[in-house]
């Protein structure tokens, strides 16, 4: 019984992985579809929805996260400003920034994308596109993968900036300590390696979140009850995937 359940989970995961990589490979091969104006419209709309519209929520979470993290670091590391700056860097830029930005995007965009595509599939709109001579991959998947990936990379950088600045602003108020000095330390400690890894995480998370959301949306069976299942499945798979990949990338990059 347990073995059967485990086996089913493993087989489902394998099937999802094969489908995910196949979809991403096909989408990568069809990036030229962005040359069509209607596809670019979907791309721009996706960046707006995933990136611009998320900035409010991202700002609030980044400010609160920055305050909480920096407060803890200062209370532990005390007057050692270099140590405070390093720990700030490690926690926000290397780990929490990309992770929390991805979680916000998953909460906002993953379920929306999966349920939107699932609804379109069930209503026969993918067939409608084919009747118009338009490949659903070109019009629906490519711009969403590209748009979500670009948006997550930008949101990650934005999150890290707001979190670091707000954290130090808070502690400088509370502890009556200089604001610009520790901030300047962070900037001097920040290496190209850290920035690159942060961007790499944003890129990978973007591809994974968009790919999984699109996959679960378009391969939904023709049943209205499949729509919410597609949405929740996409969100859960995305959460598991990004935590796994975050650990993997961090291990490879920083050990």
């Amino acid at each position: 019984m347990i073995a059967e359940r485990i086996g089913r989970v493993v087989l489902d995961a394998l099937r999802d992985s094969v489908g995910f990589f196949a979809l991403l490979r096909q989408a990568a091969g069809r990036l030229a579809a962005l040359a069509h104006w209607p596809v670019r419209q979907v791309f721009y709309k996706q960046i707006y929805f995933t990136g611009i519209e998320a900035l409010g929520a991202v700002s609030i979470i980044a400010i609160l996260a920055g305050i909480a993290i920096t407060t803890q670091i200062v209370s532990l590391a005390g007057a050692d400003k270099t140590l405070v700056s390093r720990i700030m860097l490690w926690t926000i830029v290397r780990e929490l920034g990309p992770l929390l930005a991805a979680i916000v995007v998953i909460a906002r965009s993953s379920s929306a994308t999966a349920s939107e595509l699932a609804g379109m599939s069930i209503r026969g709109e993918l067939d409608s596109l084919r009747r118009l001579g338009i490949a659903p991959l070109d019009y629906l998947v490519v711009p969403r993968v590209a748009g979500i990936t670009v948006a997550i990379m930008a949101v990650t950088i934005y999150f890290q900036f707001i979190a670091v600045v707000s954290g130090f602003a808070f502690t400088s108020l509370v502890y009556q300590s200089p604001f610009l000095t520790p901030l300047a330390d962070v900037v001097s400690i920040l290496s190209l390696h850290e920035v690159s890894i942060s961007l790499l995480k944003g890129l990978v998370f973007g591809l994974v979140i968009s790919g999984i959301s699109c996959l679960f949306g378009i391969r939904v069976p023709r049943s209205i009850t499949a729509v919410p299942r597609a949405a929740t499945s996409a969100v859960m798979r995305n959460l598991i995937a990004i935590f796994f990949l975050d650990g993997l990338i961090s291990y490879v990059a920083f050990f």
Partner: protein
Amino acid sequence: MLLRLDQIARGSLEPVSLSLAAGETVKVIAESRDMADELIGIISGQFLPTAGRLELFGEDAASLSEAARLGLHTRIGFVPENGGLISNLKAWENLILPATFHLDATTDELEGKVSALARRLGIPADALAAMLGKLPDRLTMAERRQVALMRAALMKPSLFIYDFLHTGLDRAAGEAMLKAAAEASETAQGTVYLCPDDAVSARITADRTVRLGAEGS
């Protein structure tokens, strides 16, 4: 030959043969909606027939790649019974979607063409303006089919395929729809009317009539 079905069958669709040469109009009477769905699904590539052979513009459909098949679809003006519109696009965006995708047409170019086309098809300017800003779920069935018809006509297809064009509409709206379709088809090489077996369908002028559900020819 624009379209050829050679003993095509699937599900409730009994083997049927049909051919459409340039300059012809064929009326296909379907005894049930299921049969019509099977036929439209086979022609549009949604699924394969379980028997028989389909040729589109002289090409064996079964041997075509996805890209080649989609390329041929740009030469076919499908007008589905439910309109076949994309739900998250307004009527105007739906209308210009294939033209902006395939022909790189700009909205400025298309505005004039759409107005002229609507006049030609007998759609009043105020009705046109009222419908174009709405999402498909806010349109009436007649409006959805009008948008689908104009969307197809903008592409200047070689072949029009109308699917149950007048069903579910009142008599006046149904007649207006058929009149608009006939006008749009003037510029095409061939036309297929897929119809239910009713009195309105009997009045559609065609070179040949094929019946689904009986011995097709």
